[in-house]
Amino acid sequence: MSGLDLIRSAISNTFRSKTRTTLTVLAIFIGAFTLALTSGVGTGINRYIDTTVSSIGANDVMTVTKTVEDTASGPAKYEPDTTNVESATGRPGSTVEAITAAELDDIRAVPGVESVDPVLTARPNYVEYDGGTQYQAAIGGFVSGMSLDLAAGSEPSSDSDTLEVALPVSYVEPLGFSSDSDAVGKTVTFGVTDQTGASSTIEATVTGVAEAGLLGSSSLTANDALTTALYDAQSVGLSSSSKDSYASVSLRFDPASSDEQVSAIKSDLKELGYDATTVEDQIGSFKTIIDAIVLVLNGFAVIALIAAGFGIVNTLLMSVQERTREIGLMKAMGMGAGRVFGLFSLEAVFIGFLGSAIGALGAILAGTALNGVLANGLLSALPGLTLIAFDPTSIAVIILVVMGIAFLAGTIPALRAARQDPIESLRYE
C-alpha cells in the first residue's frame, strides 16, 4: 500500500465508527483545549512583560547603587565623608548612600563598562498646557534603546538638545488636548522650585503619547536634555557636592555581551561596593513565577491528555477487534505487518490530530472572546495586556505533542493488529 493510500485508508477508517471516534476526539479536545489555553496565558503575560520591559529600559543598561550594609547586625556607622541622598526607590524619606562624581570614574574603569551616567531625579511641581490647569508630574528618564508603547507620535529623542517629553494617555484630556495626536508637537510647561525657594518654568515639546504600561503608567517620559534642564533648575542653591551626588547611576555595556560577561561586570562592581541590576534582573523573578504557574497548569492539561491517550488505546483495541477479519484478509492478500501497523498507528495519530486541532481552534476562539470580555472588564486598567495570546509555534508544538501521545497510545493496538495471524483471523466468525 502506498503511503498516501495508507493515510487515506486510516482517515476513512477513523470515521467508520462515528460515535466512538467522536467520544475519543472529545477527550483529546478537552486536554488540548486546556493546554492551548494555559500556554496561551503564559504567552500573553510574558509577551506583555517583554513589551513592558522594553519600555522600562534598554537591555544593555544596569542600574548601580551603593550596597546597603547589612542592618541586621545593628545600624550602619556614620561616615563623615559620605553624603546621603533620598532614595529613588525606597520608602519615602528613606535615604541611601550617594554615589559621588569621583566614584563615577571608579565605575567607569570597570572592564566592559561603556558609559556611566548619573540617574537624575527631576521633580517638577506641575505640568500645564497653554495656561490651563496644573497637574502633578512624575518624570521618568528615557534611555536610547528603550521603547515606549506609543498611542501617537514618536519617542523623545535621547540625542537631541531640544527639550522633549512623551505624555501618558491619562494626561491628554486633563491638559486640554482634544486627542492623542492633537497633543503631539505642542509645547507644555513645567514648573520647578529650586533650593532657594524661587520658582521657574521650563518648556518642552510633546513628541508622543504613550499607552499606560504595567509600570510607570502615570509618569511622563523626558529625554536627557529635559531631565538635565529640570534637574539643573531644581538644584539651584545646592552645594556642588550635593548636586553631584546621585542615588543611582545608570551604566551601559556592550549589548552583545554574553551572560557571563554581564555577571563579570556585576561581580567587579560588587567588589567596589556597588549593587548592579539589569532590567532582566528586575523582571526576571516575576517571569519565573508566571512560568511556574503556567507549567503547573500545563501539567494538569498533560494529565488530561494522558487520560485521553488511554481512550485512544481503548478505541483502537475495539476497532482492531471488530476488524479482525478485515486485517486477516489484508494480510492474506499480501499486506505486510509493517503496513498494518502503520495503518492503525496512523489512525491513532489522525484521531490525535483531530482532537488537538479542534481543541487548539476552540482555545483560540474562546481565548479571543475572553480577551474581549476581560479588556472591557477586569483588565481594563491594563490596556496593553492581552491575557491569552497564541503564537503559531506553540500551537504547532501542542498539536505535534498530542499527535505524539496518540501515536504512542496507538502502538499497543497497532502491534496487536500487525501480529495477527491471517488464518486465525479468517477462521474467526
Binding site: M1, G328, L329, A332, G334, M335, G336
Partner: protein, 231 residues
C-alpha cells in the same frame, strides 16, 4: 516434464501441543500443474482448508515442504511471500469477507491497493473485473447491501482483479443456492478454460469436484483414492 506451479512434499501439519496436539495433515504430497483445475475433496474436518492454506503460503507446514514453481517456499522471505500472495494468487474464502460500509469497487480493488497501484489505474482495473462478472452497475453500492450470489461474484472479482496465475477457492458455492452456485461455478471454470488460470477448488461437493480436471480426496489428513482407501 514442466515444473508444477505448486507442490506439496510430504506435508504434515499439527495444531496445539502435548495432549491437545492434533494432526490435521499427516503427510500429503501433491503436484499442481500450471493451468489445470483441481479439486480437493473431503468431509468436514478432513483437513482441506488446512492444505489449501499451506499451498497458498498462508501458513507453514510442521514438516515437509511446499514448493512454488520448484522452489521451497519455506526459504522465501516474508516480503516475497507477501508479494506472491498479492500478485500470483487470488483468494475466494469459505466466507465472503467483504468489508462492510465500503463500496463494492473498494472491496474489489483491495489487492491493488495493497500492491500500491495508483488510484485511476485501480479504478480502471476494478471496473474491468466487475464488468466481467456483470456487476459494473453495483460498483458504488455498499458491499453489504448485495445478495449472496452477488457477494460471491464480488469476491471472485476481487480474486481476479490483480490477474493472478492461481485462484484458490474454498467452498466457493457453499453459501449459495443451487442455481446461483451453478452460475459461480461456470464463471470459475470459464476463467480456467479461457485464460489458463490455475484453479484450486476446495469442496465437499462431489458434483462440483467432478467438473474439475482432477480431484484429490482427503480423509483424516491423508490423501486417499475415490473410494476412501489410502492411496
Amino acid at each position: 516434464m514442466p515444473v508444477p506451479v505448486l507442490a506439496a512434499r510430504d506435508v504434515k501439519k499439527s495444531y496445539g501441543r502435548g495432549a491437545a496436539r492434533f494432526d490435521a495433515l499427516k503427510g500429503v504430497s501433491l503436484d499442481i500443474e500450471e493451468g489445470e483445475s483441481i479439486s480437493i475433496v473431503g468431509k468436514s474436518g478432513s483437513g482441506k482448508s488446512t492444505l489449501m492454506h499451506l499451498l497458498a503460503l498462508l501458513d507453514k507446514p510442521s514438516t515437509g515442504a511446499v514448493e512454488l514453481s520448484g522452489r521451497d517456499a519455506g526459504a522465501l522471505g516474508g516480503r516475497i511471500l507477501n508479494r506472491t500472495r498479492n500478485q500470483t494468487f487470488g483468494f475466494v474464502f469459505q466466507q465472503f469477507f467483504l468489508t462492510p460500509n465500503t463500496s463494492v469497487l473498494d472491496n474489489v480493488t483491495l489487492p491493488l491497493r495493497i500492491a500500491g497501484v495508483g488510484g485511476s489505474e485501480r479504478r480502471r482495473r476494478g471496473m474491468e473485473a466487475l464488468e466481467r462478472l456483470e456487476l459494473a452497475d453495483k460498483a458504488k453500492n455498499k458491499a453489504t447491501d448485495l445478495s449472496g450470489g452477488q457477494k460471491q461474484r464480488v469476491v471472485i472479482a476481487r480474486a481476479l482483479v490483480n490477474e493472478p496465475r492461481v485462484i484458490f477457492a474454498d467452498e466457493p458455492t457453499g453459501n449459495l443456492d443451487t442455481a446461483t452456485g451453478a452460475v459461480v461455478e461456470e464463471i470459475l471454470f470459464d476463467l480456467n478454460r479461457r485464460t489458463g488460470i490455475t484453479l484450486i477448488v476446495v469442496t465437499h461437493d462431489e458434483d462440483l469436484a467432478a467438473k474439475t480436471d482432477r480431484s484429490v480426496f482427503i480423509r483424516d489428513g491423508l490423501v486417499v483414492d475415490r473410494n476412501g482407501a489410502s492411496a
